[in-house]
């Protein structure tokens, strides 16, 4: 059975949810602890889950970005392994410079929990069809995407915008909900696909995210 590597930091809290998603999709999940290096082989993909790594101290994701596990993840990225960062995982990938841009406090200055409609803008290892509308839960206090003008232009031109909100909940620049790196193997999004996995959760649009991960 193919393995899925799930990174775990102090304060990660969607780790078990991702474990559930990987199992449901027929993979063998495996923990990758913050202090341990790992070798990137025979993993179908890696997930940096949501939560409040290191209590959001300093800046969301900034402390987790400096850990040995993230160093190994960077090597995995260089080898082209598919990597997905969700919510705080997205923030960590941005802080580690594996993804462009930053995520700042929501425009409302409040945490937002809701369902959001999204449009998939570009193909990624985790979403095959483009132009698709999907519905996923969001839950974040600092999910407003921001990037400088030049960087934004580069993202648009290179097709690195992964998905946009149909009705912007947090003030994200250009309604951006998720982005990719220029190699398109590292993907980050604020919404939680693992919370829309099975019918009883109220939606199933997140299910394909954990199935595909094509290289």
């Amino acid at each position: 059975m193919k393995k899925v590597g799930i990174l775990r930091f102090w304060g990660t809290n969607c780790d078990r949810d991702i474990w559930q998603a990987a199992e449901v999709c027929g993979f063998k999940p495996e923990w990758l602890w913050q202090d341990d290096s790992f070798e990137a082989k025979d993993y179908a993909y890696f997930v940096v889950p949501g939560g409040f790594s290191y209590g959001d101290y300093l800046r969301c994701g900034s402390l987790a970005a400096q850990t040995p596990a993230m160093k190994s993840l960077r090597e995995a990225s260089n080898k082209g392994f598919p990597i997905i960062g969700i919510c705080n995982g997205f923030q960590i990938l941005c802080e580690a410079k594996l993804l462009p841009g930053v995520l700042v406090r929501n425009e409302s200055q409040r945490f937002i929990d809701d369902w959001a409609e999204l449009k998939v803008e570009n193909k990624s290892p985790f979403t095959q069809s483009v132009g698709q509308r999907i519905r996923l839960p969001i839950a974040h206090g600092e999910g407003r995407f921001f990037a400088g003008d030049d960087e934004l232009k580069k993202l648009e031109d290179n097709g690195q915008i992964w998905m946009r909100y149909m009705d912007n909940p947090n003030g994200s620049l250009k309604d951006i909900a998720g982005v990719m790196n220029d190699q398109k193997n590292v993907c980050g999004l604020m919404p939680h696909p693992e919370r829309a996995l099975l019918e009883w959760m109220g939606g199933v649009d997140g299910h394909p995210f954990f199935l595909e991960a094509a290289r």
Binding site: W10, G11, F52, R110, M201
Partner: protein, 727 residues
């Protein structure tokens, strides 16, 4: 004031209690003993005014594995699954400092759950605020919600339901009651708190001890005077990140069988945890206070004993297992430090460096705490009339509009959208529904509903307390769930006033009888007295949390209409009729008629559950505040409304607002209508087909249908209207 009087005031003890201490010790208390008695004999820790009555609770059933006396109650769900749950108040700190008060309320209740060995999987909050226009109220609402959000979201436990009330009796004393539920999966041990094993080590784990919350327990056992702001240093400061680390590490060491027993350092901190663990285990302890990890090295023994610094635990471990235990905590970035040993006793000895500063038999502080039979009178019906009738002169449409935008009737979305409702990957139904549901690994569903309507309590405490259990029980039944057990949080005013004490006794009786009839025992809870400011007492508010189970994930009707043309039925078991929230709004009080028959209500709950199981219903709702008018309005979606008629069930427009114990709206596809009628008929009670689901309109058969866009706009704008600065 004499020196003794001054000391009694500082330590919040009275003269009789002082006499009792002298008798127990055979001498006057000295040094740090004052602080120990102050904390352990406080109302908050000792339940001295309520213990006599709490014993009367219906508290046993075949499912109960752990009841009062431990950090939380535990029930057996079968199939290897068990749950621990409890609700606790954090009213006083939240009024003083809303963010930290509410946050640490959440933190404290979570620790009560995971000290039992259960992984917390759901949170809920019962909140009572004052009039939105009252002084500081926007600030309090904002702070409390942010506090719950900040703490719960970070520890990664979803807040999936709650109840929020507004009334001027809470203007100077808000209520913040936090509920938490934890899950034991197959093989997870239940861990208790009694110290065991002579020679075992007492180990301190978690955050370091600071000066926050010193004297918190005795503060919470006192009425507020004018200067509540000056009490700010008695409020604790929480750090959810630490709590998250503590949850993971504690569950890990318990699963590895490295822990003999464990107790949270909650109210009265190290004092209550060490003395309670010793008393429960009937052993002694030798404690080295100078070994306690400190945030501020200048702290003295008394402050260390009374500090309510958060995210700390005291545990007992076998010396040979300490290394393995320490390794787990180190991995999670937490200290584990030996601070004492278990001794033969009977005394708990406290050392400060090499000096023995106190040695007390723990039973003296716990079992020998004072017990008061506060004066009360036998309950007599209040506000009862021959036939409760709604005020005739209401303008139906104006009133409907008003209630949809009122603080009581308006949307609470602003609150729940700030809570992470789905972390953990178990949430099936969130706070948007009247019954919140989590899915269990066994593919069964677990429901949580909070209850207690303060308006009913103001009308008649005995009726209100019955309703506190039956209303949520019926809400569960309407979704196909069987209520299993109850936790409560009894918020009352000053127990030294006989009127308040009478309401307390009537409430305990009402809850207990209702629980017995449903075979849903009370397994945990707390009492919060002295919710009184400048002589004004809050509405007596026995908040409850019900937990229920359903054997499948199927047939859980929604709260909102699903299909155009579905048939709407009303099913009624008529016991008490009352003018409800509308009566109170219009005339300052509600009145009621009829009487309560607990057995018949429990039978109705069972019947309702069976009908929900056997007919594919599309939506159900127990009729609550503001009667059928409001309930029907709340079942509307953006496009689906209703057309209902008047008839035997409602004879004039004002009666759409009348409230009953109880009636339920059941909605089904037309093709199932016959079956539904048959199922209700065989079970008794009155039922009527009152209308159908219809597109675009809310039509009460008066020739003036209401556009759904208007209705929804009123409901959604309520928050902005009352809390402009927060919206």
């Amino acid at each position: 004031m004499s020196e003794l009087e001054a000391k009694l005031k500082t330590y919040r003890l009275n003269k009789d209690e002082y006499g009792r201490i002298e008798k127990l010790l055979g001498r006057a208390p000295q040094g740090v003993e004052w602080a120990l008695f102050s904390a352990m004999w406080s109302e908050h820790c000792s339940y001295k005014s309520s213990r006599v009555h709490l014993k009367k609770f219906y508290s046993k059933s075949k499912r109960v594995l752990q009841s009062f006396g431990e950090n939380a109650g535990v029930i057996d769900l079968g199939q290897g699954e068990k749950v621990a749950f409890k609700m606790e108040s954090h009213n006083h700190p939240s009024f003083i400092e809303p963010y930290q008060g509410a946050a640490t309320g959440v933190g404290g209740i979570l620790r009560d759950i995971f000290t039992m060995g259960a992984r917390p999987i759901a949170l809920a909050d019962y909140l009572c605020f004052g009039d939105p226009g009252a002084e500081r109220m926007s600030f309090l609402v904002d702070g409390v919600v942010r506090g719950i959000s900040g703490y719960g979201n970070c520890v990664g436990v979803p807040t999936i339901t709650g109840q929020t009330e507004f009334h001027s009796s809470y203007d100077k004393n808000i209520l913040v009651n936090a509920f938490a539920l934890g899950l034991f999966e197959e093989g997870d041990p239940i861990v208790t708190s009694g110290a065991k094993g002579i020679g075992n080590w007492v180990v301190y784990v978690g955050a370091k001890t600071g000066r926050d919350g010193v004297h918190g327990a005795s503060m919470a056992s006192e009425s507020f005077e004018k200067d509540s702001a000056s009490k700010r240093p008695t409020v604790q400061i929480g750090d959810p990140f630490f709590e998250k680390l503590l949850i993971e590490s504690c569950i890990e060491v318990m699963a590895q069988d490295l822990v003999v027993s464990i107790q949270d350092m909650g109210a009265a901190g190290l004092t209550s945890s060490s003395f309670e663990m010793a008393a429960k285990g009937k052993v002694g302890l030798k404690m080295h206070l100078d070994q306690v990890p400190l945030r501020d090295p200048t702290m003295g023994p008394e402050e260390i004993l009374l500090s309510e610094s958060q995210e700390r635990m005291l545990l007992i471990c076998e010396p040979s297992k300490f290394k393995a235990l320490e390794a787990v905590f180190t991995r999670w970035g937490l200290d584990a430090k030996k601070v004492g040993e278990v001794t033969k006793g009977p005394e708990v000895e406290l050392y400060w460096h090499s000096e023995k500063i106190a040695a007390l038999n723990p039973q003296v502080l716990t079992d020998e705490a004072p017990l008061y039979e506060r004066p009360y009178s036998v309950w007599k019906d209040k506000n009862k009339v021959d036939q409760a009738a709604m005020i005739e002169s209401l303008t139906f449409h104006a009133e409907l509009q008003r209630i949809m935008t009122s603080p009581q009737g308006g949307s609470r979305d602003w609150i729940y959208h700030q809570y992470d409702q789905r972390v953990g990957g178990r949430t099936m139904r969130d706070a948007a529904e009247s019954v919140s549901v989590v899915r269990l690994k066994s593919d069964r569903a677990l429901a949580i509903v909070l209850g207690c309507r303060p308006q009913m309590m103001r009308m008649d405490a005995r009726v209100g307390a019955s309703d506190a259990i039956f209303q949520p029980a019926l809400e569960m039944a309407a979704k196909g769930f069987e209520p299993l057990a109850v936790t409560d949080c009894l918020n009352f005013g000053n127990p030294e006033k006989p009127d308040i004490m009478s309401e307390f006794v009537a409430s305990v009786e009402g809850i207990s009888k209702a629980c017995e009839s449903l075979d849903a025992p009370v397994i945990s809870g707390n009492v919060s007295f002295y919710n009184e400011t400048l002589g004004q007492n809050i509405t007596s508010t026995p908040a409850v949390g019900l937990v229920g189970l359903k054997n499948s994930l199927k047939n859980i009707p929604h709260g909102k209409f699903q299909n155009d043309g579905d048939a709407i039925y009303l099913w009624r078991v008529d016991q008490v009729t009352h003018t409800g929230q509308m009566g109170e709004d219009k005339s300052g009080k509600s009145v009621w008629s009829g009487s309560i028959d607990e057995k018949a209500l429990a039978a109705f709950a069972k019947n309702l559950r069976e009908v929900v199981e056997s007919v594919p219903l599309t939506a159900t709702r127990v009729v609550g505040k503001y009667g059928l008018a409001y309930s029907l309005a709340r079942m509307c979606t953006e496009d689906l409304g209703f057309r209902v008629r008047m008839g035997d069930w409602v004879s004039k427009p004002s009666e759409w607002f009348l409230e009953r114990m109880y009636e339920v709206l059941l909605v089904c596809p037309k093709a199932e209508a016959e079956k539904l009628e048959r199922e209700m008929k065989t079970r008794g009670g009155q039922f009527w087909r009152v209308g159908i689901v219809a597109e675009g309109m809310a039509d009460f058969d008066d020739g003036k249908p209401i556009m759904l866009t208007d209705l929804n706009l009123s409901y959604q704008s309520a928050w902005r209207v009352h809390f402009e600065s927060l919206a």
